[in-house]
Structure formats: C-alpha cells, structure tokens
Amino acid sequence: MAKSYILNDLINVFTVKKMKMKDAKAVGKMVIIGVLIVVIVIAGVVGYYLTIPSKLKETLIMGTTDSVESCLDTARAYDYFGLEIVQSLGSPLVAYKPGATGVESDFIPQLATSWSVSDDGLHWTFNLRQGVKYDDGTEFNATDVKYTFERGMGIADPDGSFVGIGYSDFIQSITVVSNYVVEFNLKRPFGAFLSLIAYQGSYIVDPKYAPMHGTSWNISDVVVYQDGNPRGSNPMGLGPYTLKSWTRVAGKDTEMSLQANPNYWDASSGYPKAKNIVIKFYADSAGLALAITAGDVDVAYRQLASTDITSMKSNNNLKVWNGPGLIQYLCMQEKYMPFNNTKIRQAVAAAINRTELVQTVFQGDAEELYSMIPIGMLGHTDAFKTLGDANYSYTKQLLAPLGYNENNKLQFALWYETSGHYPQSAQQALVLKSSLEASGVISVTLESRDWAAYRTARQQEIMHSYILGWYPDYIDPDDYIYPFVQSSGGSWLHQNYANTTMDQLIEWARGNTTESARATLYGQINNLMVQDCPIIPIYQGYAYAVSRTNVQGVYLDATQTWRLWLIYATE
C-alpha cells in the first residue's frame, strides 16, 4: 500500500546506514530538495509580509492635557489647543510646509495656488484654488475670504487674535477681484503678511455656519460650543477633518473626535492619513504620561514634564519627537532702581549662566538663546554672546564704578510663577539666582506667585525682574521683536522700555518685504537690544510629543503647530 511505502521511506531516511549506498544517495537528494522547497516557501511568505505595506489604523487616539479655552471660532479662539483644532477643521490661503524653519521658502499653496505683492508692498493678490468645497458641499470662492477677515475684524472680540495681533492695524480693505481672485489692501507694507495669512486665526470660515445675526458684526456672532451639536459649534469646514463629536463638562473638554472630511480639497494626496482622530483629555502631565506608557493613547502631545520625557526616551515601546518650543527671557523693570541703569542690566545679562540652566534644569534638552529671535529663524544672531555667559569679570567691571562690590552687593528680587504656566519655573529661578550670586557682587531674593497673581504684579510694575515665556502667533521674526521692544507693542510687558531708534528699526523691518534686507535689520535690532538690554533671552526649549513606536508623521517645527492630518499609526 502507498501509505506503507511512504512510511518505509521515512524509516529508511532515519536508518540510512542500513541502506545500500545508492538508495542512501537518492534519499539524500530527496531530503535536500524537500528542505529547499520548505525554505523557498518560508522565504516567500516572509517576503510577502515584509513587502506589503503595513495597514494603517483607521482611528488614531491622541492624549493631551490641553483643552479648548473658549471656542473653535477664529474670531475668538486665541489659545493653543483651540487653534490647533481650528487648523484641523479649516484651511488657510497659504501654509508653512512641514519642517518649516521660518523662512520665505517655507510657504506652500493651500486655498491660494499663487500670490503676488505690489512693488509698494501695499497690495497682496491671491489666486484661489477652484472647485474647493466645504464639508456640506458649498463651493468656496473669493467672497468667503473677504467675509472671513471682515467678520474677524468686525466682531473685534477682545479675547481673540484679530484684536490681540491687531489685524486692523494692517488691513485696510479686501477686494473680491473675481470669483477666484482676492486682493488685500494694506494700510502700510508688512513684511510678515504671508506669515499672518498662514496663522490659524486667518483660516477661512464657512459663512453658512458663521452668520451675521444683526445688521452689523457683534460679539454675539461668535460661534460658541453647543452641547450635542458639533457642526454648529465650529464655523470651519474646509479642513482635512470635520468635528464628529465634542463634549465639554464645566467648560473643559472631556471628549472630542474628528473624522475625515469627504470634501477635503487635498484628499487626493492621501490626507488625512488617519481617518478618525479620538482625543482623550487628561488633567495633568502625570496622567498623560501614564496613559501613553500604558498604551491608552497612540500619541501624547502637550504637556509632558521633562522628567517624564527623559524616562520615556529609554522606553523601547515609545518614540519621542521634538521640535522648537517656547523661548524664555528675563524682563527688568526700568521704571526705578536698580534696573533704570543700562549698565546694571548689562551686568546681570553677563552674569547669567545659560549653559548651567540648560544642563541642570532641562538635562540638556534646551538650547542657550542669545537673541529674542529663535535659532534657525530669519534674523537670528548670537548677539548677547558679546556680553558673555557667566562672564563674572565683566559683571564686576560694569558694577564697580556704580559702587557695587563684594561688600555692597547689587540687590534685587527675581520673580517667577508657580502655576506651571512655564516648565520648571522654580528650578529655573533657583539656577538663575545661583549663577547671578556666583559673581560675588549680586544678591538675589526669590519671589513667587501663582499665574493670576503674577500677572497682576506685572501690571502693577512691582517686580524688579521677572521670567516670562513666549509661544509665537505668526512665524516671523516680527512676532519675536515687535511685541517686546517696540514702545507701544511691548507695553504689555510693563517694563517701561522705549527707544526711538529701536522703534524706527522695527518699523523698517516690518515694512520691508525683502528677506535679505530684513535679516540685516533684525541683526541691527539684536545688537541694539544688547546695548540697551531691556530683555535678556535665556533659552529656547523643545516641544515634545511622545508616541507608540508604530506612529509616524509627527512634525514639530518652527510653527509649533500640531498637524493631525499627517499623523498615522500602523496596525
């Protein structure tokens, strides 16, 4: 019987010694061929699985400690997370490409396919993409652009970016040239205008969901959260996602989910990568850290403590992403002694030990900053290096003629906030105190308040020196200079600095649209900042996101925005 023959053959294989030589060779050949076949089959199967693309997860779960502060309407939203969601639900005329560093070549077409500026810098013309539809199928055209900007400036919500940044200071009028051409007429040339157009506050709204209720724009026209009505809770509609659900309990987000917009104009390029986004909200960084470690979320973004980041870097199940983050700086009150003296401000700037702060407080996960304009951005120079870092001999040299020495130390208070508004503020203050006192001629008293009280103290101008931080609005050196050292633009800092030369340089830099000329002007501004020393840049931090290892497409760049539609996870 066949079965017994096969059995016999198998027995023969293992008892090959007992067989004749000829039979043994034949069996040997059979075994080799059999092994080869098995190897080829296994290789084929393995090769197949290695070469086919991994399946993308339909739903990506994101964890955050953020929450929408007020609403998802560009007329009011001015908080980080609110604008990040706006960015996923809407589209701008132009945007920064992923990986942007803050230079002119970073701009990419979005709803506008091309643009141009008049020679006098007063008229910006945008040619719009045709055939773009809102999520409800309505066609987008130039009147929507005019509507969006006139609405934002008309509502003029004091909480919103249209007032905060001051759109009306630049924009005179908007003209619909044709269905797909729109022109912005400016009051004065503004070199950062494209950056402003790329900013989330400039994303285009759907007039149908952002109507005017009266005869003129009113603050009550702002689209606010409506329980159980996610579409009515946001006026966007041109973005990669639509808002599927949004629940708030007691003014805080408890649940949010996004789903791919079927009418998204860039859907043919494969965006959004993840078809659904579910956002889970955590009360604090400890909760978020536990959630990403436990695998409750695929990606965690804002805010994770730097100590958690350090341990996560060595966790094989996690991937840590980073990019440029906030900058922090020291302000000095020039209204009264001791910082009404430029030499004293310079002496303090020279004594600061940035390297020690970066190494001690942030374990090296930050960079020393020597100008207010961040590293890598147009206009950045290491201007403050001329004063040195922990340059105690220069500090002593500057203070000695003023009567300050080891026996009569310069005394002042250094203030910091305690609400976690900035990372590790208390540790920063301690290291700064220690580095300043290491000069031997400075004595620092530390003072702290929670954020609300700190803001009041700043407004009352009672703080000698105080640590603040900055996240940018639009990505341009102007957003790192004008709000700080221009006499009216920087008035919110309450440090009472004003210099007409500085104002003039800033005005020229703002009005210029040539990149090289602007770089030169910002270099001069940086040098004047060192000379006057109204503000001392300290460090540039990193923004961190942490994901499971199967997540790709996280881009953290100079824009410091969170591009959800690029992120995906494989099964």
């Binding site: 609403c71 004091p158 599927k244 003014g251 805080k252 889970k280 400890a286 536990l290 803001r455």
Partner: protein
C-alpha cells in the same frame, strides 16, 4: 421636638451657614491678588478693551454693589456667568456635579463596606495578629496622600497589568445616553445608572472600569477611620450582656456579630459618614485631578487658577449645600434609628 420641627430647624440653620460661606468666599476672592480680566489678555493689554470687559463682568462696580448683585442673583437661582468663558455657571456646575456625585457615592460605599467589615473582623480577633495587621492597614490608608495612592494604583492596574484605564470617565464616544423611548429622554448624568437605563451592559461594565480606580483610591483613604471606629465600638458592644445572651441562645457567631452587635455599634459610624462626606469632597478635588475625572473638584481647581470669581463662588456654594444636605440626611437617619435624638 417632633421630627418635622427638627427637620425645619435644621434646614433653617443651613441657610445662614451657606450665607456665611458665600460671603467669606466672595471677600477672600476679592482680597486675593489676581484679576480675571487680566488673564483674558495673555499677550497684549488693551486698556479700552479691558475696561469694557470689566464693565461687562460687573467688576467696575463697588464691592458692595457686586455683592448685592450676586446675592440677588442667588435668590433668583442665578449663579451668574463664568468670567472665563461667559457660560452660565449653574449650567457648568450642573454638568460637572454628577461625575463628583457618582465618585463620592462609590467611594463612600467602598469605604464603609471595607471599613466596617475590617473593623468587625479586627474586633473579633482582638489583639491577635489579624487585628494588628488590620489596624496597621487602617492607619496606613488613613495617612497616605490620596494622589500618591492614586498614582500607585494607576501604575499597578493601568501601566503594569493593563486591566483598567489610568484616567477619564469613559471612552470617547461611549457616553451613555440614558433612557430613550421615542421622544422621551431621561438621563441622570450618573453613567452607571444611565448605561443601565440605556440597557447597554457593555457601557455599564466600561463605566465601572473607569470608576473603579478613583473610587477605590478615595474609598481606601477613607476606610481607615471606619475601621478604627467600628473596631472600638464593636469591642465595647461585644462585651455587653445582650451579645452574651444571644450567644447563649446558640445563635451563629456571624448572626450575633453582624445582626446584633454591629447594629448597635453602627450609630457612631453613621455619624462619621456624614462628617466624612465633607472630607470626601475635599479628597475628590485631588482624586479628580489624579484620574482626570471631569467633576466639580477639578472644575474648582481650574477656576481658582483663572480667578473665575463667579464659578468659584458657585462651586463652593454647591459644595456647601451638598454637605449640608448629606449631613441633614444622616441626622434624620440617626433620628430614625435612635428615637432619643428627637427627645
């Protein structure tokens, strides 16, 4: 004093108590440095816009006028509008309160059941190793900070074993809808009950999974005092004649302990439950933060950071009323169980 007079007098006493609480919070907030309007102007300060906002929020009026407006509002049942996002405070508190209530009830159930059971077992094994272990357990759980215990449980059951979620109240998009029959809709905001009303067992189990760690944390921290109290009362009760008599009649030990002795030893525990409810709400503030639980405690912390005067006042008033009502209910129960109270 009849029971009705007793109830009326207790309710009347609650009103001035809430008033004193409200006035104190109102004044403390105004004395504290920090102003809600300033926090709306994170990067720029526009004096005209700030003045307009102050007027809109009623902060430009003299203090007595602000107080008068607020009290009049309270009598009309209006807790005012949030100074952060301009939403009605009553609505916000109403949306957050069920989460806190659910957490408080579950925590109290765990604390009482565990505390009383261990207290009884401890008293039965007086001075034996079992008694010593339970006493140490009681002291440790009472002394341990609630956020620390919470994080330990999160690390064990969430990160280590992956059994339970580390935070939140339920998975996104899984919120129970409650009872829905045609156009009739009814929900309590308590997810355990709403999921049952919806008839969705999966959501019910999911709700319990999210609820378990925070309530266990709070329950464990609170159970220590119930262990101590039950133990000491049981030790006294077990020595009484009626217990000896019950034993002599040949009743089972468990019947004697739980049906006879514990019933008598339970009255002080009941009083403690009322007192502990205030503690529970204080603990809920920390527990809600640790477990990202969207309740009133977390709301209060957020609003303190923002100096949202109306929201803080509203939350404190609701906390005050809640504690008063629970205290009243406990007193009534006490009066019902022990008629001497009414005499």
């Amino acid at each position: 004093m009849t029971l009705r007079t007793y109830i009326i007098s207790r309710i009347l006493l609650t009103i001035p108590m809430i008033f004193i609480l409200l006035t104190t919070v109102f004044l403390i907030l105004r004395v504290l440095p920090g102003e809600p309007v300033l926090l709306h102007f994170e990067k720029m300060e526009n004096p005209a816009a700030m003045a307009a906002m102050r007027a809109q929020l009623g902060l430009d009026k003299p203090l007595w006028a602000q107080y008068f407006d607020y009290v009049v509002g309270i009598f009309r049942g209006d807790l005012g509008k949030s100074m952060q996002d301009y939403s009605p405070v009553a609505q916000q508190i109403f949306s957050a309160f069920p989460a806190t209530l659910e957490l408080a009830i579950c925590s109290m159930i765990i604390a009482v059941l565990l505390g009383v059971f261990l207290g009884v077992e401890s008293s039965k094994a007086y001075n034996k190793p079992k008694d010593q272990v339970i006493r140490v357990f009681g002291i440790v759980t009472y002394a341990i900070p609630v956020f620390f215990l919470g994080m330990i449980l999160q690390l064990i059951f969430g990160v280590g074993l992956h059994w339970l979620p580390v935070g939140g109240r339920i998975s996104p998009t899984m919120e129970p809808t409650g009872l829905n029959i045609g156009n009739f809709h009814f929900s309590t905001g308590l997810y355990t009950i709403d999921s049952l009303l919806e008839g969705n067992i999966y959501k019910f189990v999911l709700t319990l999974k999210y609820l378990l760690l925070p309530s266990l944390t709070l329950g464990l921290v609170l159970c220590g005092i119930f262990i101590r109290l039950t133990r000491s009362n049981m030790l006294e009760t077990l020595r009484l004649d009626f217990v000896t008599a019950a034993k002599a009649r040949g009743l089972k030990e468990s019947t004697v302990t739980y049906s006879y002795a514990l019933r008598n030893a339970f009255l002080p525990v009941l009083t403690m439950m009322g007192l502990q409810f205030a503690m529970l709400l204080g603990g809920a503030v920390l527990t809600e933060t640790t477990f990202s639980w969207p309740g009133l405690g977390r709301y209060l912390i957020d609003r303190i950071n923002f100096r949202d005067y109306t929201a803080i006042q509203g939350a404190v008033v609701v906390f005050g009323i809640f504690v008063s009502l629970v205290s009243l209910a406990i007193d009534l129960l006490y009066a019902y169980l022990d008629p001497r109270i009414r005499l």
